[in-house]
Symmetry: C2
Subunit: 252 residues, 2 copies
């Protein structure tokens, strides 16, 4: 019999995962605000109550990091002994702390961060990366085996601290720059270079991300403040360099 999965939170990422997970398991889904009936007409996913989805073999928490501690407390009474709980947050220290502090000892916990989303995974997820942090119990190996063998993802086993240190650059910087470009509200341009086209590809890959995801990336990672400071320091250094006279071939 296929494993039963409870999906809590069916936003852009939760929905994106469905076609990849459904061939491998039965999924019951719960979302506190979204009506899941239309979704269940399209996919073989069963809308259920929070109590029901929390009682599955595997429980995936796919909500903003900002909601994690509350939801962990809500589902705790319903979790089965021996179940494994996973999150998919873009930061790892905060949700892992929330899970450790609020989930009962009789469940195993694995933190995950799929390093892609609906835009960057639009053409399939084979070969894309996912970061994994073991939190409690010994289920990391089977989670890792499923992700690499069945979904053909490239798994990166890491710690919450190392993940957040790296993602402070990897997402902190790219999402900041992309949101700045969006905020600039540029005119339509057709005299474009390859480099500009690449920049716009970066911008488009995050343009439709939720404000909550952006806030999680920028505000819920204790290392990202330093990245943003470095960014603005570097910007000032470049501005100062441009204001100084150029090399000697520069005629003024």
């Amino acid at each position: 019999m296929r494993a039963s999965v409870g999906l809590i939170g069916v936003g852009a990422f939760g929905e994106f995962m469905l076609p990849y997970l459904l061939p491998h398991c039965r999924i019951g889904a719960y979302d506190p605000v979204r009506d899941l009936e239309p979704l269940s007409e399209r996919w073989a996913v069963v809308p259920e109550s929070l109590e029901e989805v929390a009682a599955k073999d595997i429980v995936i928490l796919a909500m903003p990091v900002q909601r994690m501690a509350d939801v962990c407390r809500q589902i705790s009474p319903y979790l089965k002994p021996g179940a494994v709980v996973l999150d998919v947050c873009s930061v790892k220290e905060e949700p892992i702390t929330a899970m450790l502090e609020n989930l009962p000892d009789h469940v195993d916990i694995v933190g995950t961060h799929p390093l892609f989303g609906p835009q960057t995974g639009a053409n399939g997820i084979t070969g894309l990366r996912i970061a994994l942090c073991n939190v409690r119990g010994d289920r990391l190996d089977c989670v890792e085996a499923f992700l690499s063998k069945e979904l053909r993802l490239k798994t990166i086993i890491t710690t919450a601290e190392e993940h957040d240190r790296q993602l402070a650059y990897v997402q902190g910087l790219t999402h900041l720059m992309s949101k700045i470009v969006v905020e600039m509200d540029m005119p339509v341009l057709d005299h474009t270079t390859e480099t500009f086209d690449i920049m716009m590809k970066m911008v488009e890959s995050v343009r439709y991300d939720s404000e909550e995801l952006f806030r999680a990336i920028e505000n819920r990672n204790r290392f990202v403040g330093e990245t943003r400071e470095k960014f603005f320091d570097a910007a000032r250094t470049i501005e100062e360099r441009l204001a100084r006279p150029g090399p000697k071939t520069d005629s003024d």
Copy 2:
């Protein structure tokens, strides 16, 4: 008989053009600092004096915009009546003014900006874009026909002002952001997303550009100051937005 071309300035871009131009013309080249003998062993290009290269049917000025006015004055006595002079600068108003003011009336002038370079054209230039501004005379059509039919570039006929307005974003912004990232001197990262990989592709496409090119793009375009102001204003707006409490699902 194939047209004779004089190439003045054999930097990264001048050298990059050689294999594309050599099948169509004989090229004499001059550079004020670079020894061209090694280059002439690799390509069928003849190192010549400034007087000699200036006396060709077609003269290509491939030097930094900062040098344009001086070089125009230097070559003026040697230019053939009916010759056509082209530049390849990344901005257009300043070099076009320099050519108009300093080149004799008996030569035609076309301003060009190939919207690619050695990095972004590394896999060939077919389909890449080039901006063209007619400056003096009626040779734009034959330049345009050569570039689109023989080199298979996508030509964009424009004015110096419209070009510089657009490139203030297209290059002003991408080169600024890329130089900021380079200046940040990030640690080696392996927990990377597709979006980060795209950003690094942008950064790598300009990382090895000369400081002079960067200064031309940022300092020799009268519209770029406004772009940089908009960029920093947008950055401040984003910073302020992040500092305010989030939407109501945000638990703090």
